[in-house]
């Protein structure tokens, strides 16, 4: 830096230039020259002190909003909240005496409590009379979306006497949250007995229904399935596999439905009707968990990747087949326009592939299946529409795919969507599975937001030089308040509300953790500042400091001289 060339030497040169020889002392400085030099130095230092230092202070001070570190660490360590999942199950006994029902409830609850080994997840039975039962079962799916002040009803069990039965049997409604249990009237427990076959049956039935959910939640809360002894290795593996296959939770998922075909036909499909018919109701039901957007596209002349193995003709099946191990190469990721992401959030791709007439029908070799799922990515369906003969003698695909022909594909897609979102495979009732999904998601988000808080706390502790903007502090406090709200909701059994709070907490936690202005300085330790300041400020500073010191020395010398003189 060629700074301070002229003027730095200016105060000195006035007095130091022009000496005919070293021996002859320079002429004495005039008082005016001394004063001028003082003024010059003062002018430079005035700029530094009155402008330089405020600017330095203003531009390099790091704003660190105070964060409730202890509270954040408590959340991360699980000290602040122990998530519990009290499921309220209504017992409707339209044809029982009140005291009989009470007794049945007590014994069944007792049996349930005995069976339960995972305290965080327990079932609470509650009696309702017949009239509210019907109302509740209708309302149950609604209550998820509009959290009322009371706990969500997880399940309604209706006890119906039926003559001529050897033992009780149950029937789960697939479209509602209602379990009908038919029992021989003789098995109504007498108040004196402490247990009865009927209560044991009900307890076992409930335990069976919620077995997978319990194992999943235990898995999430503890990180493994070892916490639960009764979980069969089979179930544990199932859960593990499902969690591996499902997408990471996101606030918004983009569903992309694509029609790929190697030829020119089919070139249109009744996609809007198919989505409305098969996907929209499901998305409606999933809306408490995540938001969804739907995109569709038709891609003609979509060829396989050149390296992908070609389908082979199987004589015995009269079909073209793909080997199971080749399915991973089926999607031509390089050429098919499958956007990795549309806006924020992950994309779930559903591919409807209509093979060329020369390769139709196309199936998977091993199991004759026409669809498969790609974990954490989406699903593929091979649609083999009926071929029509063309005038040239060849055969061609239909030009248009009607809603009916899309039906099987979209049924498969909705099933794949549920699996990709991590919905458990049991029980059979979809509302129950969605409720389970809500509880699982609430638990996951609660843990993940708490863990993020912990990481943020550790990060700010370990890096004292990173700035913490006020927005981060706001996000953190929002996160913490929603986390505790979510925890309270869970305890009250209001899972829909708990999930809503947990979603807010997760979003805010991520926002605070990934705040851009914080990341900038993460890798910038204090000792590097020397390397930043010195190259420029050093050369500027040395003459200024030396000039100041000389001047101070002169003033001090003059004071002294004055002192001795007087």
């Amino acid at each position: 830096m060629m700074t301070k060339t002229g003027d730095q030497e200016s105060p000195a040169s006035a007095s130091q230039v022009d000496q005919p020889s070293v021996k002859r002392a320079p002429p004495p400085e005039t008082p005016a020259a001394v004063q001028t030099r003082f003024r010059v130095i003062a002018a430079f230092w005035a700029v530094i002190i009155f402008l330089g230092f405020p600017i330095w202070w203003k531009t390099t001070s790091i704003y660190r909003a105070s964060l409730p570190i202890e509270e954040m660490v408590d959340w991360a360590d699980g000290k602040a909240c122990r998530p519990v999942f009290p499921l309220e199950i209504h017992l409707a006994t339209p044809s029982m005496q009140s005291f009989e029902a009470q007794h049945l409830l007590r014994t069944t609850q007792h049996t349930l409590d005995d069976l339960n080994e995972f305290a965080a997840h327990h079932l609470r039975l509650k009696l309702t009379n017949g009239s509210t039962t019907a109302h509740n079962s209708e309302d149950s799916s609604e209550s998820v979306k509009y959290p009322a002040e009371t706990a969500d009803t997880a399940l309604t069990v209706r006890l119906l006497p039926q003559d001529g039965l050897a033992g009780p049997w149950s029937e789960l409604h697939a479209a509602t949250t209602q379990l009908d249990i038919f029992y021989p009237p003789s098995q109504v427990p007498v108040p004196s007995s402490s247990n009865s076959p009927l209560s044991a049956f009900i307890a076992a039935e409930l335990q069976r229904l919620y077995g997978e959910e319990k194992a999943t939640i235990a898995h999430i809360l503890s990180g493994n399935t070892a916490g639960l002894d009764s979980t069969s290795p089979q179930l544990a593996e199932d859960i593990d596999r499902r969690l591996r296959r499902s997408m990471k939770y996101a606030e918004t998922y983009h569903l992309s439905f694509s029609l790929f075909t190697p030829g020119s036909e089919p070139s249109s499909w009744d996609i809007e009707a198919a989505v409305n018919e098969y996907v929209s109701p499901l998305l409606q039901a999933l809306s408490p968990i995540s938001n969804f957007t739907v995109d569709t596209q038709v891609q003609l002349y979509a060829n396989f990747a050149p390296t992908a193995p070609k389908p082979e003709y199987d004589e015995s099946e009269a079909a073209w087949t793909l080997k199971k191990e080749d399915l991973s190469a089926f999607v031509n990721a390089a050429e098919w326009p499958l956007n990795p992401s549309i806006g924020n959030g992950p994309t779930i791709n559903f591919i409807l592939y209509v093979p060329d007439p020369s390769q139709s029908p196309l199936l998977v070799n091993e199991n004759r299946a026409s669809s498969w799922m790609i974990p954490q990515w989406g699903g593929v369906f091979l649609l083999n529409p009926p071929l029509s003969n063309t005038e040239q003698g060849g055969r061609s695909n239909p030009a248009h795919l009607s809603q009916d022909s899309l039906g099987p594909a979209f049924m498969t897609f909705s099933h794949q969507l549920l699996t990709l979102l991590g919905t458990p495979s049991t029980p059979a009732s979809l509302p129950l599975r969605l409720q389970t999904s809500i509880r699982i998601r609430a638990a996951t988000l609660l843990l993940s937001a708490s863990a993020t808080m912990g990481s943020l706390a550790r990060l700010t502790e370990s890096l004292p030089s990173i700035p913490i903007p006020a927005t981060v502090a706001t996000s953190v406090s929002t996160t913490l308040s929603h986390l505790s709200a979510s925890c309270v909701y869970l305890r009250e059994g209001r899972f829909g509300a708990a999930l809503a709070s947990a979603r807010v907490a997760e979003t805010e936690a991520e926002r605070s953790f990934f705040e851009k202005s914080m990341v900038g300085q993460v890798y910038f330790p204090d000792e590097h500042k020397v390397a930043v300041y010195l190259p420029l400020l050093g050369p500027i500073g040395v003459p200024l400091v030396v000039g100041l010191l000389k001047e101070l020395k002169r003033i001090a010398g003059r004071r002294k001289a004055k002192g001795t003189a007087s």
Partner: protein, 422 residues
Amino acid sequence: MAVDRRKIAVFGAAFVLRLLLTCFFPSLPDLLTGRVEVSTPVNSFKRLQEGLFLYTGNVSPYDGGVFHQAPLLLPLFALLPNAKSSPLPTAIFYFLVDLLNAHALVNISASGQSVKSKLHSAVRKHVQWDGVSVAAWFLFNPFTIATCLARSTSVFTTSGILFAVSNAVAGNSINAMLALGFASYLSLYPALLFIPLVLLCYDRRSEGPSPPNVGSFIVQQAALLLASVAGLIGLSCLITGSFWEFISATYGFHLLVPDLTPNVGLWWYFFIEMFDSFREFFLGVFWLHLASYVGGLTARFRSQPLFIITSLLGVFAIFKPYSSISDASLFFALLPLYRHLFPLMRYTFFAGSAILYSSLLGPAFYHLWIYAGSGNANFFYAITLVWSLGLSILLADTVFAALRDEWEQEHPEQVGTEVRQV
């Protein structure tokens, strides 16, 4: 009227030379307009054209973030015919501005303030060029010609500064402040010349019969400067409609240096390399560095206000953001006023060669970096360092010569002795 005839001859020759260059090399103006050495984001004619297009299309000229110049230039250029289809009127307008600048220089030279002011009188008064020679140095300086042909809007800032000085040496403080207000309004940095300019005005006034009071005189002039800038900004608001948009697009752009397009200055490379978190701090350092010379030079050369202005213009040419050769040409324009200092300068050869070397190699290295791809940014940056080095040596040498001149005045017996460092 021999002098006048010489003046006419010089001015006419300068005009004809520019006209011939424009007519015989029609692509030359556009070539120069595109050169980074001549056109910076704050004075580029291309960007002015863009702003003008938006302005005539009734869109805010600052939309699109290309145009960063003062809005009052827009109605002025809207009056001229389109520079694309008929370039000659615009070119001739610029030639005339150049001649006006030269005329201001003649006035400055005629006042003799550079050799003899109220508090100072140079030893070698007789070694001096007359105004026409000074104007010729300005008009036939290749840097001035290139700036003029490239139609850089810096020439208006140059006019503002030169007219402020020429009015100040005549003791016409009101006009001086109005002209300085115009220059500051266009480019912001000329406001730093306020203190030496006021001193110049004050010295000229106090030579007269009734010397004004120092404090009230400074306050008066400051108020005048503020009023003129405020008036121009008010007019600009009428044109652009939105105050903050225009302030942030022009002065915000000057102050915060967001566009790091290469130029001959020292800022662009430094701020490309700077860590983001220190950007604000070093912006402050660079601006303060630029401003800190005002106080020091003013204190040291209180007796020669015109020399303070000259050396400050040299400092600006080296250290200002978005500097171009037009800033150097302004410094070179005032230097011939100090012809009497030339015998005292010691490194003229070295400074001259460094400047020549960098002005020849600069375009070549820029070409290697941007077009040929066989060089990198460091090539061009190294050349801009040499350019700044050359200017710094010249500036330091001039300051040294001025100090030596003062010394010889105080110690007449020592004239001609050798300088020794102790």
